[in-house]
């Protein structure tokens, strides 16, 4: 009985202290605190198992002309490595049926296969193109890929209110030399550790893009997902909004649903 009791006390202490000024971060350096916040955000989202959603992208050029993309995405949580994901393209029609399978890695290049329906061909593709635009949008491949803690080095910058919401502001620097960014500044709300905004700085240190998250919704009483993401490119004035619909979690997807041998039958 005794050890159990002491555990309870410890838990009680944690609960008591954590909402008041985040005592656990007090003695940490800026680097340690940045990493601790990123880890906490990651920990809070653990256990989602798998998810699927419909993604609708609207691309706008500086004259306001629009074109749209529609995809379906499926993701599988992998405990000790990066997650697996599958994106199936529905619109525009010339790429319908194309599927992109990604085994993300915490360190190094992801493994990626592309299924080309016209040729019935599954092709391993180079995944070193992290900074390239995804589907001609303002989202780069690295922006939509699995956000693993290990992909960045962190520094806590400051506490700040963003639209009246208390936030941590941290800087994260991509570890990968192929990243298109020198650094990213991220706003996470203190209440739920959800990313609210990201400022992207290019390799020349100039402000390239801003990503803003809207309409967070909670799934399985735990996992927060934004229904709408807005990416604005400050240099070209092009923007892309990414809308998620029909989120489903823990539907029992397994490794076999993320297998390049089965890519050809993904619909």
């Amino acid at each position: 009985m005794k050890p159990r009791l002491s555990k309870r006390i410890l838990l009680l202490l944690l609960v008591l202290f954590s909402p008041f000024g985040f005592a656990q971060y007090e003695s940490l350096s800026a680097t340690e605190k940045g990493l601790a916040i990123a880890r906490e955000a990651d920990r809070r989202d653990e256990g989602w198992q798998d998810s699927s959603a419909t993604m609708i992208m609207v691309l706008r050029n500086r004259h306001g002309q629009e074109s749209s993309r529609q995809m379906r995405s499926k993701s599988l949580e992998v405990a000790d490595d990066g997650d697996k994901s599958l994106i199936i393209f529905d619109e525009p029609r010339d790429v319908r049926g194309t599927a992109l399978l990604t085994f993300s890695r915490k360190v190094g290049d992801d493994d990626q296969w592309l299924y080309l329906p016209a040729l019935k061909r599954v092709k391993r593709i180079a995944s070193s193109n992290k900074s390239g635009p995804f589907m001609g949008s303002e989202f780069a491949y690295e922006d939509i890929s699995s956000q693993e803690v290990e992909k960045y080095r962190y520094t806590f910058l400051r506490d700040e209110k963003l639209n009246d919401v208390d936030c941590f502001v941290i800087e994260r620097d991509p570890v990968d030399k192929d990243s298109g960014y020198s650094r990213q500044v991220v706003w996470l709300d203190k209440a739920e550790y959800r990313v609210q905004k990201v400022d992207y700085y290019d390799r020349k240190q100039s402000h390239l893009k801003t990503l803003t998250f809207y309409d967070y919704q909670q799934y399985l009483d735990k996992h927060w997902r934004a229904n709408r993401l807005e990416m604005l490119n400050h240099q070209t004035l092009k923007s892309t909004s990414l809308n998620f619909q029909n989120y489903v979690f823990a539907s029992g997807l397994d490794e076999r649903d993320f297998n390049q041998s089965g890519l050809a039958r993904m619909r």
């Binding site: 029609r93 010339d94 319908r96 180079a126 995944s127 193109n129 001609g136 041998s261 039958r265």
Partner: protein, 443 residues
């Protein structure tokens, strides 16, 4: 558009699985092609306009455990009546049972890694009426059993009960042999088109390596040619066609073998001959950073006994190898833009030599691919193939961009340059340079 509906006729099944998905999509393609040089033969047209339709219907049920796919292709062509054709590309049922996939019906399969020549891609017959690049295929009736490992690899067994013959351009068409090819083919096997071919393939990956190894036993997909009709001309000693092999990219019409015409006659038409073969093939790609290393190789044991008598250039029992290997490197974000440039180099080798087979016996392929990564997916592919033995050259340029969410336009130009008369694969089509505009509309 995917229409979802509850299948009331599946009442017995639990409602969670009773959902049936089905979709119907049609691609319509308009094509205009102009040949820039006068044709070799008077009957061959200089321009063509063509329309094609390609509807695909798909349905699945039981949470996509079962599916049926039907895909038809129809083409109407102004210049070549042979090119007015219909093909059932797919009509199959597929069932997924844990690690097993069963597919029964007409389907298409792709094997391989390299870009110019799909050397080991064996199962489906080329639709040679569509393009010379070997990427359009006829539907192949099959039973396919696929076992998928948890690691991502799979082993596939194919049973192919019926053979699809290659079809050839008609009199008005270009990119063809200088003599017509009779519709009736001859076979090594007594069973003809009904010979049951089979194949087994294992494919997998480990780290940066993707690989496949396959065995195929059955009817050769590439035809050889034997004389069909010979006009006897007692005075003639010269041979109208003393050697016919035109393997352009994937053998437009004739392939292989210097076909010697009879001593004093003129060859009026040819017949396709399909031998038997056993073939072992491997294909692999190693991916590392921005580099892709690619390899395809095959070892073949051909049985052509029934043709060896009528065309001395055909070897009754022929064992040989062929290979193609290359690499691709990509530069990302070039010219301070979002564009990528990929550079490709491939080497093609065939033990049978210059006029023994594909025509790619000692050839180098160089290409650059530019992708704008813009909202229209604009892309340009420029390529050059040259034969190191006789120095024939082939240039190709392909550009495409999206016009809207439902349409796309492509431009294609191909040039045959300095084709040596020793190069029987390309010599008959040396005047067939063309430029083509294609419009795709997706319904």
């Amino acid at each position: 558009m995917i229409v979802r509906s509850l299948g009331f006729w599946l009442c017995g099944v639990s409602t969670a699985f009773a959902q049936i998905n089905h979709s119907l999509e049609t691609d319509v393609q308009l094509e205009l092609r102009g040949y820039t040089e006068d044709a070799l033969l008077d009957a061959q047209e200089d321009y063509r306009a063509a329309v094609a339709m390609n509807p695909e219907w798909y349905m699945d049920w039981n949470g996509a455990q079962h599916s049926v796919t039907a895909n038809a292709f129809a083409r109407v062509d102004s210049a070549d009546s042979e090119r007015n054709h219909i093909d059932l590309r797919e009509l199959h049922w597929q069932g997924v049972f844990d690690a097993w996939e069963v597919r029964v019906g007409i389907s298409r399969v792709f094997w391989g890694r390299t870009e110019l020549l799909h050397l080991v891609d064996t199962i489906n017959q080329d639709d040679a009426l569509e393009n010379i690049d070997g990427e359009d295929k006829l539907g192949q009736p099959m039973l396919r059993l696929n076992y998928v490992y948890d690691t991502g690899g799979s082993t596939r067994l194919y049973v192919l009960p019926y053979f699809r013959e290659r079809r050839f351009a008609g009199e008005g068409g270009r990119l063809r042999a200088p003599v017509p090819i009779d519709a009736k083919a001859v076979y090594e096997s007594g069973a003809g088109q009904h010979h049951v071919d089979w194949a087994i393939r294992h494919q997998g990956w480990s780290g940066g390596l993707d690989y496949g190894i396959a065995w195929f036993s059955g009817t050769q997909r590439d035809p050889k040619f034997v004389p069909d009709e010979v006009r006897v001309d007692p005075g003639a000693t010269a041979l109208a066609v003393n050697s016919t092999s035109a393997g352009l990219i994937q053998q437009i019409a004739l392939n292989s073998m210097g076909l010697l015409s009879p001593a004093s006659g003129e060859l009026v038409s040819l017949k396709a001959f399909y031998g038997q073969m056993d073939q072992l093939s491997i294909d692999a790609q190693y991916t590392s950073g921005s580099w892709l290393w690619k390899l395809e190789a095959l070892w073949r044991d051909e049985y052509n006994r029934h043709a060896a008598g009528s065309n001395p250039a055909i070897i009754g029992r022929h064992r040989y190898s062929a290979a193609t290997a290359g690499l691709e490197y990509s530069f990302y974000g070039v010219f301070d833009s979002a564009s990528d440039i990929g550079v490709l180099v491939e080497y093609l080798w065939d033990e049978r030599g210059l006029n023994g087979g594909s025509g790619f016996q000692d050839d180098v392929f160089l290409a650059a691919r530019w992708a704008a990564n813009d909202a229209w997916d604009s892309a340009l592919l420029a390529g050059l193939v040259f034969d190191r033995e006789v120095n024939s050259q082939f240039f190709s340029l392909e550009y495409s961009r999206r016009l809207s969410g439902q349409s796309k336009v492509s431009l294609e130009a191909r040039v045959f340059h300095r084709i040596s008369d020793e190069d029987h694969s390309f010599y008959p089509i040396r005047f067939d340079d063309y430029i083509q505009l294609e419009y795709n509309w997706y319904l």
